[in-house]
């Protein structure tokens, strides 16, 4: 696996290809961003959540349950402290993969801020890239 972190986005090419899609259902999410290297190219908190976190925590952030569970992030009091979500995104926890190597400090801050202000979470104190940088140590 190369970790060269080349940043390139397929969005423009996709916009052209959307017209060719076999299934109209795919258009439901509108334009999508795809990463090409080992780092995510999504930058905004909303885009990072929708393209990454949603895979497990789902569109409503309520998680899901099979043989085990993905925890709900909706109205989640664990998000009150800024350090907890930053540490989880950067370092992972149990089966949750660490994303610190695939996201910049600014990206981690963006997605944490998005989570802490959406899905029934209303924490107004924003985290910064500096906070994330410190959590990496």
């Amino acid at each position: 696996m190369t970790r060269r972190g080349e940043l390139r986005c397929w969005a423009l090419m996709l916009a052209g290809l959307l017209a060719l899609m076999a299934s109209g259902a795919a258009a439901q999410e509108g334009q999508r961003t795809f990463s090409s290297g080992y780092r995510f190219v999504e930058m905004s908190g909303e885009e990072l959540y929708n393209n990454i976190c949603r895979g497990c925590h789902m569109g409503d952030a309520k998680g899901s349950t099979g043989a085990g569970s993905y925890p709900s992030l909706a109205a989640n009091p664990n998000l009150e402290s800024t350090g907890y979500p930053i540490t989880l995104v950067v370092h992972g926890r149990r089966a949750m993969p660490p994303f610190g190597g695939m996201m910049s400090d600014a990206q981690v801050a963006a997605v944490v801020n998005y989570l802490r202000t959406h899905f029934g979470n209303n924490y107004s104190d924003m985290v910064t890239a500096q906070d994330v940088s410190e959590a990496r140590r």
Binding site: E29, G55, G68
Partner: protein, 531 residues
Amino acid sequence: MQEESLGVTRRDLLSLIGAMAGSAAMYHAMTSLGFAAESRYQGAVKLEGDPKGASVLILGAGLAGMTAALELRTAGYQVQVLEFNKRAGGRNWTIRGGDTYTELGGATQNCDFQPGLYLNPGPWRIPYHHRALLDYCRRLNVVLEPFVQLNHNAYLHSSRAFGGAPQRIRAVKADLQGHVSELLAKVAQQGKLDEALTREDQEILLQALRSWGALDGDYRYSASLFSSQFRGYATPPGGGLAAMPAPSEPVALSDILKSQLWRYLRNFSSYNFQSTMFQPVGGMDSIGKAFAREIGDIIRFNAKVTKIQQNDRGVTVSYVDTTTPSIQNSVTADWCVCTIPLSILSQIPLDVGPAMQAAVEAVPYAGSVKVGLQFKRRFWEEDDAIYGGISYTDLPIRQIAYPNTGYNHSGRGVLLGAYLFENPNAYEFTAMAPNERVARAVEFGAAIHPQYKSEFENGIAVAWHRVPFTLGCSGEWSEDARKQHYANLCQIDGRIVLAGEHASTLPAWQEGAILSALDAITRLHQRVVKI
């Protein structure tokens, strides 16, 4: 391999052993000296000694759990298995037409593949050195066929090179080898290797470069019928009047280098992917079904484990039947072999010491996505002469893998239209609805095979973080976690021992699951017969 500074070389020693003791002893000696060892598998496990009716509860009916069940029952144990799914096999799984699959989040897919066509959403290939798995296939009568990893006529594709036109693997490989050989031959002829090699060795090197790189009489890599034997012809040889072949023109070294296509060639040369590879005829789940034919009668399906307790007398496992989840059940046994993936086990109350508990919580689970696509015809064979194998691309689908069975028939076929493993695209595809994963795979794949647009019929997409029975593809051990926790994960804790691919150094491979189970039950058995 470390060189040992013995007074006698290993070769001398081996000759001596061979002369004195015959070839079987020599083979054994070679194996213990580090040569000829293709596998850690020691042959069919022998659990000698009477377990005196001891009982073992096995959690999980994947390959690890069923290996343990089969061997422990044969050794005289009373064995029961609890399995979350309503089928045996776990990640050893095949999806066919008529199958329905509901992922976490509730999206349900109905597979519309034509009868006989399938997708292996999990493991799909077996290296020749996975001797334990191969031995179980032989013993359980699972019929194998070749899995084609390297097809010289499949494609390497970069959206940023050659105007986006896919290149034949054959040509990229020949051109890289040819140009590198020409360069090295030039350096040798300029006397620049005099310090590194004797004159005689340089002469042999030049011969080797000519042979390996398809160089001409002047040690140049040029358009010729000789180089075309490697990279392919502009006009191939034929019959009759106009039969003369015409050579093709090599691509310039700079273009090959800048294209980055060389980076895919390692997928054909690394140990895990060398020929011969195999797949079971009809789908990977033939293996799980074969195990289930042997021990299916002792598996309780739809059993979701909720608690694992032990004391000095035995193990008690609580579970609910997923069809009647309000009722708590429990089962007891003297011992427990737990193969539940750590993604799930780390959430279940578990009576083990802090070292094993920390190990259970130390392993994140990889993201991985596979998309199967059915097309009206096998255009990759009919139009592109690609029979099996894999094309690699820098597009987010990363791979297109062609079916290694049913060749050269008219009619429908199923491709693996995307295979993502632990990279950003795996997460991005997981976050999509299944129908969008399929649509994106079609859209990206059309850049390599334009026939996609008119020939696509239906597809199915499995994102492993959304799979209800694993919550991830496989244990993704970091080096640090391995050092700190791996031994603690594998130790017997009281009456509980863990097994599965996560308790092996072959992560995500079925061989790892089986070897870990064999190791776990061997140690467990030693403890039982000693008591």
